[in-house]
């Protein structure tokens, strides 16, 4: 018996469905899992089995469903909102889980391809945790003041031809409550895919894989860090296995 959220995954063939969006949805492709497909990670809907990393209950326990106050709502976040309780918005964790699984799957695929993953976070409270996670993954972190042009003028800034990250993971997408992190815009400019935890007051528009959820609480950030670390580790392990088999 599959969990409810997973059943929906299987039903939709792992296409993202925005609940209240009237944009045309792609036709769900029929997933056929046979032996030849299993060897190619891109043909498999969930090659790294990221769906078993967490349950909706885990998200709830980590306080991922807490949004900001009603007044600060960004209207693009409306489709992900379950409701409001005592003036505070609550995320629909079923939707969050779907988005998070997509994001984890993508992160694992990037890690499998040997991509550079960079973690971002501008909240001083969680900065150390995010840096530590990046270090443990063998990936990169940027939790400090963003000097303009790190992506857009990289060769000049670093004094050498620089390989930019292949994926940016934003643990929060805002610099402060008013401004969006410049790296979100710069990643979009440089065609770097992004995963972002977007709270109810943030804009998901420039994020490739937005994950609606609480981006302030250390408990929640700890949860995301743990999940992304696990996903990246799976991707890297699969890569190591693949390289060993092919050498």
């Amino acid at each position: 018996m599959l969990p409810r959220c997973l059943q929906r995954h299987v039903r939709n063939g792992f296409t993202l469905s925005r609940y209240y969006s009237n944009a045309p949805q792609p036709e769900p492709a029929q997933v056929t899992v046979d032996e030849s497909v299993k060897t190619s990670p891109l043909d498999h809907p969930d090659f790294f089995q990221v769906h078993n990393l967490f349950t909706v209950k885990d998200l709830f326990d980590a306080g991922v469903h807490y949004g900001h106050k009603e007044g600060s709502l960004n209207e693009f976040m409306l489709p992900y909102i379950y409701g409001s309780r005592q003036g505070h918005l609550i995320f629909d964790l079923d939707i969050t889980a779907e988005h998070l699984r997509k994001a984890l799957n993508f992160a694992a695929h990037i890690a499998y391809r040997g991509g550079i993953i960079c973690f971002f976070n501008r909240n001083a409270l969680n900065a150390h945790l995010v840096e530590k996670t990046a270090q443990e993954c063998g990936e990169y972190a940027h939790t400090r003041f963003w000097r303009g042009g790190i992506f857009t003028n990289a060769n000049h800034q670093f004094g050498a031809v620089t390989r930019l990250p292949d994926l940016c993971i934003f643990m929060n997408t805002q610099n402060n409550i008013l401004n969006q992190h410049t790296a979100v815009r710069d990643s979009a400019k440089m065609l770097i895919p992004t995963i972002g935890i977007v709270d109810s007051n943030c804009s998901p528009n420039l994020i490739t894989y937005p994950v609606p959820g609480n981006d302030d609480t250390p408990r929640a950030i700890e949860m995301y860090c743990k999940l992304f670390k696990a996903a990246i580790k799976r991707g890297k392990d699969a890569r190591m296995k693949f390289l060993q088999e092919n050498n």
């Binding site: 040997g114 960079c118 270090q135 990169y140 940027h142 790190i150 050498a160 620089t162 390989r163």
Partner: protein, 306 residues
């Protein structure tokens, strides 16, 4: 080469040889020929930052100042470890060991330039302030002595305290009296050496004569001042050989020589008091030359408008 032993050929000998082989009249010493280990001549440069796949080596590479932010990261890590330890000790209902407290009075945080040199990165004033803030935070924690190594890495001893640490041990003569000789006591044009013998009767010998070698009271006071200040008058014997200069230069040289020699015979508190009183400070002032067109070094002829 040059009749020198290669086994004991030091940097000092190299410098002397270069000075001899390549005599240079260039005024600025930094522009003269030199031969030194390359790491002293060329400032440190960052090693290669990427591997073959183009992945940066440092996990904070994209911040632009990876070494500095790694330092802040380590400091945060240290603070968290100390907090955890403190919690553990409080749960056991114990208190911090008062004897293990860090002694930081004798040292200061390294300067911004030194930090830049050790990190091989330019840092701004604001970043340096942040560094000091976070280090002060670590020091203020009750169990900061547990990460002494981390803190000591970013501290340097105070200059005045460094001299005090290198106090020589006195030698003993055939009578069993401790004695110490200070050579090169310099002041103005005077130079000489001062020998202090302890225990003694307060006998002062200057070039074979007693204190009356100096005719004026001021010079005599100068000679006696370190002895009176350190309450050693009548407890030690002083012998000086002094030449060159006038009475004020000679007495000043002897004063410094006595004070310098007395370091080996006084306790730590007195040493600090002597330091504060300026007894252990060399006076490097020399006579300033007379300038043409004026009667003295600074003195000008009387100014008349017309």
């Amino acid at each position: 080469m040059m009749g020198e032993d290669p086994e004991t050929f030091t940097q000092k000998d190299v410098d002397r040889a270069i000075e001899y082989l390549f005599p240079s009249g260039i005024y600025d010493p930094a522009a003269r020929p030199l031969m030194k280990p390359p790491e002293e001549v060329f400032p440190n440069r960052k090693a290669a930052e990427f591997d073959e796949a183009g992945r940066p080596h440092h996990f904070l590479f994209y911040t632009g100042k990876p070494n500095f932010f790694k330092l802040l990261h380590d400091a945060a890590e240290t603070i968290q470890t100390l907090y955890k330890f403190e919690d553990k000790v409080i749960r056991k209902k114990e208190i911090p060991d008062p004897n293990a407290e860090l002694e930081l009075l004798a040292s200061v945080w390294i300067t911004r330039e030194e930090l830049e040199q050790s990190l091989v990165e330019k840092i701004t004033d604001l970043e340096y302030d942040n560094f000091k803030l976070v280090m002060e935070r670590i020091v203020s924690l009750p169990y900061s002595y547990r990460c002494k190594e981390f803190i000591e890495k970013y501290r340097k001893p105070l200059a005045s305290q460094r001299f005090a640490l290198e106090i020589p041990k006195p030698s003993y003569d055939q009578d069993g009296r401790a004695f110490i000789t200070t050579y090169e006591c310099l002041r103005k044009k005077a130079r000489g050496d001062v020998t202090i013998r302890s225990p003694g009767t307060g006998k002062i010998t200057i070039n074979g004569k007693d204190l009356t070698y100096f005719q004026d009271v001021q010079s005599r006071e100068q000679v006696l001042f370190p002895l009176i200040f350190s309450e050693m008058l009548g407890k030690v014997d002083v012998e000086c050989n002094i030449e060159g200069g006038g009475p004020s230069g000679q007495s000043g040289a002897i004063r410094w020589g006595i004070a310098w020699g007395l370091r080996s015979f006084v306790d730590k508190n007195m040493l600090e008091a002597m330091q504060v009183a300026g007894l252990l400070t060399r006076d490097h002032r020399r006579r300033e030359r007379k300038k043409p067109g004026q009667p003295g070094a600074r003195k000008k002829p009387t100014w008349k408008k017309r």
